[in-house]
C-alpha cells in the first residue's frame, strides 16, 4: 500500500483509512457529495461553474497540463448529446496515482464527473480504467452501484431535474489507449488508435459527439475546488499552477509511494517525504513526469520545484507526476534500453515514423547495451529521434524520442564508454546491489 505523507492533504484526505475508507458512507462522512448537492440545489449556472474551475487554474493532471476550465468551455452549448469521459488508463511507467484514487476514494472521481457533466451539459459519462488494475475497475463498479442507489446517478439526480449516468469501462492494457482519442476509439469497440486532430473531442468525440476528457485526478479535484473556491485552490499552489498534485515517487528512495503536495514544492522536499535516497546513496538522475518525460540529472532536478513551469524550464515535463528516482548504481544505457523497449512495444503502429522508428531506437540502444554499439550510433539515435518527433498523429513518437535524446544529452559520456569498452561504466555488481532485489543498507 502506498505510503501517505502529505502537506495540506486534499485529494488524499480520504486515504487515511486505506481500503476501509472508500465507501459511500465514509465519503459522505467527510463531506462527500456536498458540492454536487450544492451545485444542483442552487441551480448554479454552467458558466459560473466553469468560471470557478477556471479561477482555480486547475491544469490537466494526466500529463499535458491543459487548463481544465478552458477545456470545458470548448464544449458546444447547443449539442443535444455530449459525453464526459474520465481517463483512468494509467499506463505511463512510473505513474500509480489514479490507481490509488480509484482504490481509496472513487466517489471523489464520481462526484467530479457528475459536476463536470452538469457543467458541460452531458448526460452520460464513461470512466476508462486501465486493464492491469482490475481491482480498481471492480471497486469503481461497486462505487457506481452505491452512488446510483443513493440517487447521485441516474434520472433526476437529487430531484434537480438533472440526469446523468456513469459507466465504467476497462481496457486491456494498451498504453496507447491512454491517448484520449485512442481511448475513445477503444470505448467504441475499435482498435485503440489515436485519431487525427482536428477535429478535437470537444467537437467530435465519443461516438462522434462533443466530449470532454479529463484525467482521474483532475475530476477528483473538482469537489475540493468547489468546496474551498477556485481562488483558494489556486493559492494552495503557485500562479499558473493551481492547487495540490499527487506525485508517484518510485525508484531508489526509502519510501516509494504517492505524495500529495502543493504545486511548487521543492523537489528536495518531495524526496525527503519519500524517505530520502535508499541506502544513503547519491542521486544520479530523475525522470520527473513519467517515462516519456526527459530525464534530468541530479544537479538540475535538485534546483527545481514541482510544478509545470519549473520543470518545463529545466527541459523536461511535469507530465503525470511520476517521479522516477535513480541513484548512482544505475547504468543509464540499461535504463534507456528498458524505456525504449516499452515504447517499441506500445507504439500502435498507425504512423510510419513511430511504427518503424520506435523499433529502430530500441534495437540500437539494445545493441549498445550489449556491447555491440558503434561510434556513429549516438548520431544515428539523435537523427532517428529527430525524424520521429512531431511527425505523427499523436505524441507517442515524441514520448519514445524524449528519453533517448535526454539520456544521450545528459549522460553522453556513459554511452560513449559503453560503445568504446563494450561494457557498463557502472560495474554490474554495483548495479545488482542497487536494484530492488537487495535490501537497502546491504551496500
Amino acid at each position: 500500500m502506498a505510503l501517505i505523507d502529505t502537506i495540506n492533504p486534499l485529494l488524499t484526505t480520504g486515504w487515511a483509512k486505506g481500503d476501509a475508507g472508500w465507501s459511500l458512507k465514509d465519503y459522505e462522512a467527510r463531506g462527500g457529495y456536498k458540492q454536487l448537492r450544492r451545485v444542483l440545489e442552487s441551480r448554479m449556472s454552467q458558466d459560473d461553474l466553469i468560471a470557478e474551475v477556471k479561477k482555480s487554474v486547475l491544469r490537466g493532471r494526466g500529463g499535458a497540463g491543459f487548463p481544465t476550465g478552458l477545456k470545458w468551455s470548448f464544449m458546444p452549448k447547443a449539442a443535444p448529446v455530449k459525453y464526459v469521459v474520465c481517463n483512468t488508463d494509467e499506463g505511463e511507467p512510473g505513474t500509480f496515482k489514479d490507481r490509488d484514487l480509484m482504490r481509496f476514494d472513487p466517489h471523489s472521481v464520481i462526484e467530479g464527473m457528475i459536476i463536470a457533466g452538469y457543467a458541460v451539459g452531458a448526460k452520460a459519462g464513461y470512466n476508462y480504467i486501465h486493464g492491469e488494475i482490475f481491482e480498481a475497475y471492480q471497486r469503481f463498479e461497486e462505487a457506481l452501484d452505491q452512488a446510483r442507489a443513493a440517487g447521485y446517478l441516474g434520472d433526476n439526480i437529487l430531484g434537480s431535474g438533472f440526469s446523468f449516468d456513469l459507466f465504467a469501462h476497462h481496457g486491456w492494457g494498451a498504453y496507447i489507449c491512454g491517448e484520449e482519442t485512442g481511448l475513445l476509439e477503444s470505448i467504441e469497440g475499435k482498435k485503440g488508435q489515436p485519431r487525427y486532430k482536428p477535429p478535437f473531442p470537444a467537437n467530435f468525440g465519443l461516438y462522434g459527439k462533443p466530449t470532454t476528457i479529463n484525467n482521474t485526478e483532475t475530476f477528483a479535484a473538482i469537489p475540493f475546488i468547489l468546496g474551498m473556491g477556485g481562488e483558494a485552490y489556486l493559492n494552495l499552489g503557485k500562479p499558473n499552477n493551481g492547487g495540490t498534485k499527487l506525485f508517484s515517487v518510485s525508484g531508489h528512495v526509502n519510501r516509494p509511494g504517492n505524495f500529495e503536495v502543493p504545486m511548487g514544492t521543492p523537489f528536495a522536499k518531495l524526496l525527503e517525504m519519500a524517505g530520502g535516497m535508499r541506502g544513503g546513496r547519491k542521486l544520479k538522475a530523475v525522470i520527473p513526469g513519467g517515462s516519456s518525460a526527459p530525464v534530468l540529472p541530479a544537479n538540475v532536478i535538485m534546483d527545481c520545484t514541482m510544478d509545470y513551469d519549473s520543470i518545463a524550464k529545466a527541459g523536461s515535463m511535469l507530465g503525470s507526476g511520476a517521479v522516477i528516482v535513480m541513484d548512482e548504481t544505475v547504468c543509464m544505457v540499461k535504463a534507456l534500453e528498458r524505456l525504449s523497449y516499452f515504447y517499441y512495444e506500445e507504439s500502435c503502429g498507425q504512423c510510419t515514423p513511430c511504427r518503424e522508428g520506435s523499433g529502430w531506437l530500441y534495437r540500437v540502444v539494445h545493441r549498445i547495451e550489449h556491447g555491440e554499439g558503434r561510434p556513429e550510433d549516438l548520431d544515428l539515435l539523435n537523427r532517428v529521434t529527430d525524424n520521429m518527433m512531431g511527425k505523427t498523429i499523436c505524441a507517442l513518437a515524441d514520448a519514445a524520442a524524449f528519453p533517448v535524446r535526454s539520456f544521450i544529452k545528459h549522460f553522453q559520456s556513459e554511452f560513449e564508454y559503453h560503445i568504446e569498452n563494450k561494457k557498463c561504466l557502472v560495474d554490474p555488481e554495483v548495479q545488482r546491489m542497487g536494484s530492488g532485489f537487495f535490501k537497502a543498507g546491504n551496500v
Partner: protein, 777 residues
C-alpha cells in the same frame, strides 16, 4: 471559397478542401500512400508532410484543411526533410525485393523511393517478416511488403460495405489480415489490388505472369453487367494477361467488379473454339471457314425455303455487341424471320407493344448518387450490379433512404430504410400496396386495380419514405425484369415514379440490354419472342454468343427445342458438350477482347472499343462472320468495311447516348391478386455464372460467390420439410426432379426455395419461376 498559396502560387479552393486536394488542383504533386480520394482520411503514412506557414511542425497535406491565407510549402527544406525521413522509415522494414515483386514497375513505393529515398540505408538491424494471408483465389499476399497504409481496410469497410480486413497487433508487429479463417469475399475485392501502393496485395491469377512494362494496353468496355465499366485490357503476345479499371467518374468511378477484372481467364481457356466445325453424319469435323459458312448459309436458306422464314429462330446473347446483334437481326429478317430476341431470361413479354420506348436506367448512372429516396424492386443488387450497389451504399451513408422490395434478403451492406420480402408471385401485389400508399399520401386518385389491396405497415413506411424525398428513384432489377409479371411491375414502377415526379429505372441485366433494343434484336409484331420460339420449337436456330441451356429462362426447354431443330447454327467463342450435342455448325467468333464493337450501357451510353488482341486461332469477329453470311445469302446491305460502318447504321450516326429511350408504358393489364400458392422457386443468376465468359474464369469459379447451387430455404421451411441443413432434398418442377443439398437461408420468405439458375446442376429443373415440389431425398 478560400484563397491559399502553395509554393508561391495562389488559388481559390472550396471551404473544407484539404491541402492535398488544393495542390492537385494546381498540378502540384505531393507524395502520398495512405491518401486516396475515394477513401476516408487516415493520415497514417505521413508521406505527405508539408510545411504550413506558422505551424511549428510539418502537417499532413491529406488531412490539413485549408484556411484563408494559408501558405503551404511542399518543397521547402522542412517539407523535404520530413518526406525523406518518412521514406527512410518506410523502407527500413520493407524487403526491397522489387526484382521478384509483381508490383515492380508499377509500385508507388518504388517510384517515390526514387525521389525521396537514399541510395543506402542506415538501418542495419534485422528486418520484419510478416506471415502471408489467404484472402481467397483472387488476391495474393506478400504481407512483409505491407506498409500499413490501411487503404485495403478502408476499402472493404467503406466501399465494399463490410470490413473484411483489419489491422491486428500493435506497432511494428501490426498486420493487415482478414477475420481468422476467412477470406475476402466481396464482389469488389480485386480493387484492393489496385489500391495497394506496394506489392503486398497482388493479383493471384496474374501472379508472375508478366512484368508491367511487357504489356500492351487497350481501352475497353466490360462485356458483363450493364454498367459498361471502362477497362484497360493488358495483353502480351496477343494474350490478355490482365484487366484493370479505366477511371470514369460517370460510370465505374475508379472501381471494377471482380467479374470484370478476372473474367479474362476465360478468354484463354481450353474450351475456346478456334476452328469452324461442322457435324457430318453425327461426327464433328474441323473445317475451313468457307466450308462452314457455306454449310450454314445453305442450311438456313433451305429451312427458309422449305418451311418459311418463321421456321428460323434467333437467340442472341445480351452480351453480344451492338454490331453483332444488328447484323444478326438483319440477317434473320433477310431470311424472312421475325423470331429474334436477346431477352433470353425474360418470361413476361406482355409489355411488348406497350412500352413507349427503349427501357433503360432512365437517368445517368451518376444521377443514382443524387437520388435521395430509392426503391429497389426485384434485384439481387449487390451481385447483379456491384457498383450501382456501391453508389447506393455511399448515398445511404449520406442520408439517402433506400428501401427494397424483393424475394430474398441478401445483405446488401446498405443501410436500408425499409424492406419487404415476399414470394415472387406476391411481388406485384406488394408493390401495388406501396403504389396505393403513395397515391393516398399524395392525394392522387387510387387506380381501380389497387382498390382492394390492404396496405401493410412496411409498404406504408416505404411509401412515406419515398414521398418525403425530392429526388426519387424506383429501380427495377434483373429479377423484376425476368419476373412472370414483369409488365405489371413496370407499370407499377411507372405509376409510383410518375406520382412522385421521380424517375423509373431499369437496372440492365447485361452489357447490351439497351443495345439489344437499339439493334432491333427483338421480335417484330409477327415474330416469336425468346420464350415462345423455344416453347414452340423451330426448324432452325441461329444462336449468337449464348449458351441457351444456361442463359435462357427455361434451360431445359431450350435444350429440348435446340435438340429437336433440324439445324442450329452457333456463333460462339466457346464450345461446350451441350453445343456439340445440339448444333450443326459451330462458327468460332471472338470475345469482346478480340473484336471491335459497341456496348450500350444501362443509361444508354454507346461505348465503342477496339480489339485488344488478335483473334485466337481461326476465330473471327462475329460481325465479320455475319457480314459474310449475309453476302453468301445474297442479302443486300451487307457490304460493311468496318464495325464502325455497322454502328453508324445501327445508331443512325455516332451519338454519345442512343435515342428512343423512354420508360413509359401504357395499357398493361393489371391483375394484382396473388395467384400462386405452394412452394415457389426464387432463382438468382449468381454473379459468376451469368454469362459464358465469366463461367470460364477458373479463379472466379473458385470464389465464394461461385458455390454450387443448393436448395436454400428458411428455417421454417426446413422444419416443415423435416430436413436438416446439409441433407439432400429432391426438388421437382414440371415432372422433372433434381437432388440438391438443403441450405438454411434466413433471408427467404416462407413458401419459397431459392435455387440458383445458370448452373449445369439446375438446368433440368426448368423455368426460373415455377412452383416446386420439395421432399426429403
Amino acid at each position: 471559397m478560400v484563397e491559399i498559396e502553395i509554393d508561391g502560387k495562389t488559388l481559390q479552393v472550396e471551404d473544407g478542401s484539404t491541402v492535398i486536394e488544393a495542390a492537385h488542383k494546381l498540378g502540384t504533386y505531393i507524395p502520398h500512400f495512405c491518401y486516396h480520394k475515394k477513401l476516408s482520411i487516415a493520415a497514417n503514412c505521413r508521406m505527405c508532410l508539408v510545411q504550413v506557414e506558422k505551424a511549428p511542425k510539418p502537417m499532413p497535406a491529406c488531412a490539413t484543411i485549408v484556411t484563408n491565407g494559408m501558405k503551404v510549402f511542399t518543397h521547402s527544406d522542412l517539407a523535404i526533410k520530413a518526406q525523406k525521413a518518412v521514406m527512410e522509415f518506410l523502407l527500413i522494414n520493407h524487403p526491397l525485393d522489387c526484382p521478384i515483386c509483381d508490383q515492380g514497375g508499377e509500385c508507388q513505393l518504388q517510384d517515390l523511393a526514387v525521389g525521396y529515398g537514399d541510395s543506402a540505408s542506415k538501418y542495419e538491424e534485422e528486418k520484419r517478416v510478416v506471415p502471408d494471408k489467404d484472402l481467397g483465389p483472387l488476391v495474393s499476399t506478400d504481407m512483409t511488403r505491407c506498409i500499413n497504409c490501411t487503404r485495403c481496410i478502408r476499402f472493404t469497410a467503406e466501399i465494399a460495405g463490410f470490413m473484411e480486413l483489419g489491422q491486428s497487433y500493435r506497432g511494428e508487429r501490426a498486420e493487415v489480415m482478414p477475420f481468422i479463417g476467412k477470406t475476402v469475399d466481396t464482389e469488389l475485392s480485386g480493387n484492393i489490388i489496385d489500391l495497394c501502393p506496394v506489392g503486398a496485395l497482388t493479383s493471384k491469377p496474374f501472379r508472375f505472369a508478366a512484368r508491367t512494362w511487357e504489356l500492351s494496353r487497350r481501352k475497353s468496355v466490360s462485356p458483363h453487367d450493364a454498367l459498361g465499366s471502362n477497362l484497360i485490357v493488358q495483353t502480351k503476345h496477343d494474350r490478355v494477361m490482365r484487366v484493370l479499371p479505366l477511371e470514369n467518374e460517370d460510370i465505374n468511378e475508379c472501381w471494377i467488379s471482380d467479374k470484370d477484372r478476372f473474367s479474362y481467364q476465360g478468354l484463354n481457356g481450353a474450351d475456346r473454339l478456334t476452328k469452324p466445325m461442322v457435324k457430318q453424319g453425327g461426327e464433328w469435323k474441323e473445317v475451313d471457314w468457307n466450308v462452314a459458312l457455306d454449310y450454314a448459309a445453305h442450311a438456313l436458306r433451305d429451312v427458309a425455303k422449305n418451311h418459311g422464314g418463321s421456321a428460323i429462330g434467333g437467340l442472341l446473347s445480351p452480351h453480344a455487341t451492338l454490331e453483332e446483334m444488328f447484323l444478326a437481326q438483319k440477317l434473320l429478317r433477310g431470311l424472312g424471320s421475325e423470331n429474334i430476341d436477346f431477352r433470353l431470361r425474360h418470361t413476361d413479354f406482355s409489355g411488348d407493344g406497350k412500352r413507349v420506348g427503349i427501357p433503360s436506367l432512365g437517368m445517368k448512372i451518376a444521377d443514382i448518387s443524387r437520388l435521395d429516396r430509392v426503391l429497389v424492386v426485384g434485384s439481387f443488387l449487390r451481385k447483379d450490379h456491384p457498383l450501382i450497389a456501391q453508389r447506393l451504399r455511399q448515398s445511404a451513408k449520406k442520408g439517402a433512404e433506400v428501401s427494397v422490395l424483393h424475394s430474398a434478403d441478401d445483405d446488401l451492406l446498405i443501410k436500408l430504410k425499409a424492406c419487404v420480402f415476399a414470394a415472387p408471385s406476391q411481388l406485384p401485389a406488394q408493390f401495388g400496396q406501396v403504389a396505393k400508399a403513395v397515391c393516398t399520401i399524395k392525394s392522387v386518385a387510387v387506380p381501380h386495380f389497387l382498390g382492394e389491396l390492404v396496405v401493410s405497415p412496411e409498404a406504408q413506411t416505404i411509401a412515406e419514405s419515398l414521398v418525403s424525398g425530392s429526388n426519387v428513384g424506383v429501380l427495377l432489377g434483373n429479377f423484376a425484369q425476368q419476373h412472370p409479371q414483369a409488365a405489371m411491375l413496370h407499370a407499377l414502377g411507372r405509376l409510383v415514379s410518375k406520382t412522385l415526379g421521380g424517375r423509373l429505372g431499369f437496372l440492365g441485366e447485361a452489357a447490351n440490354s439497351v443495345g439489344g433494343y437499339v439493334a432491333g434484336a427483338i421480335p417484330g409484331t409477327t415474330g416469336l419472342n425468346a420464350a415462345a420460339m423455344l416453347a414452340d420449337s423451330r426448324q432452325a436456330y441461329v444462336v449468337l454468343g449464348a449458351e441457351p441451356e444456361l442463359d435462357c429462362a427455361n434451360g431445359a426447354q431450350a435444350l429440348a427445342a435446340l435438340a429437336k431443330a433440324a439445324v442450329t447454327v452457333v456463333l460462339t467463342p466457346f464450345k461446350s458438350q451441350a453445343m456439340l450435342d445440339y448444333a450443326a455448325v459451330l462458327l468460332p467468333t471472338t470475345p469482346f477482347s478480340e473484336t471491335s464493337g459497341t456496348f450500350v450501357n444501362t443509361e444508354g451510353r454507346a461505348q465503342s472499343f477496339y480489339a485488344a488482341a488478335k483473334p485466337l486461332g481461326d476465330a473471327r469477329p462475329a460481325w465479320k462472320v455475319l457480314r459474310v453470311l449475309g453476302n453468301l445469302l445474297d442479302q443486300s446491305g451487307f457490304d460493311y468495311n468496318s464495325s464502325e460502318d455497322v454502328r453508324t447504321e445501327a445508331l443512325g450516326g455516332n451519338p454519345e447516348f442512343v435515342a428512343g429511350l423512354d420508360n413509359a408504358v401504357d395499357g398493361v393489364v393489371m391483375k394484382l391478386a396473388p395467384t400462386a400458392s405452394g412452394i415457389e422457386r426464387v432463382s438468382d443468376v449468381p454473379i459468376h455464372f451469368a454469362d459464358p465468359l465469366v463461367r470460364r474464369s477458373l479463379a472466379l469459379q473458385m470464389a465464394a460467390d461461385s458455390a454450387a447451387p443448393a436448395a436454400r430455404m428458411s428455417a421454417a421451411m426446413l422444419a416443415k420439410l423435416g430436413v436438416a441443413a446439409g441433407a439432400d432434398v429432391r426438388v421437382g418442377a414440371g415432372g422433372t426432379a433434381i437432388v440438391l443439398p438443403a441450405q438454411l437461408d434466413a433471408g427467404l420468405p416462407d413458401g419459397t426455395v431459392r435455387i440458383a439458375a445458370a448452373h449445369a446442376s439446375t438446368v433440368a429443373l426448368g423455368p426460373l419461376f415455377a412452383n416446386l415440389t420439395v421432399e426429403k431425398a
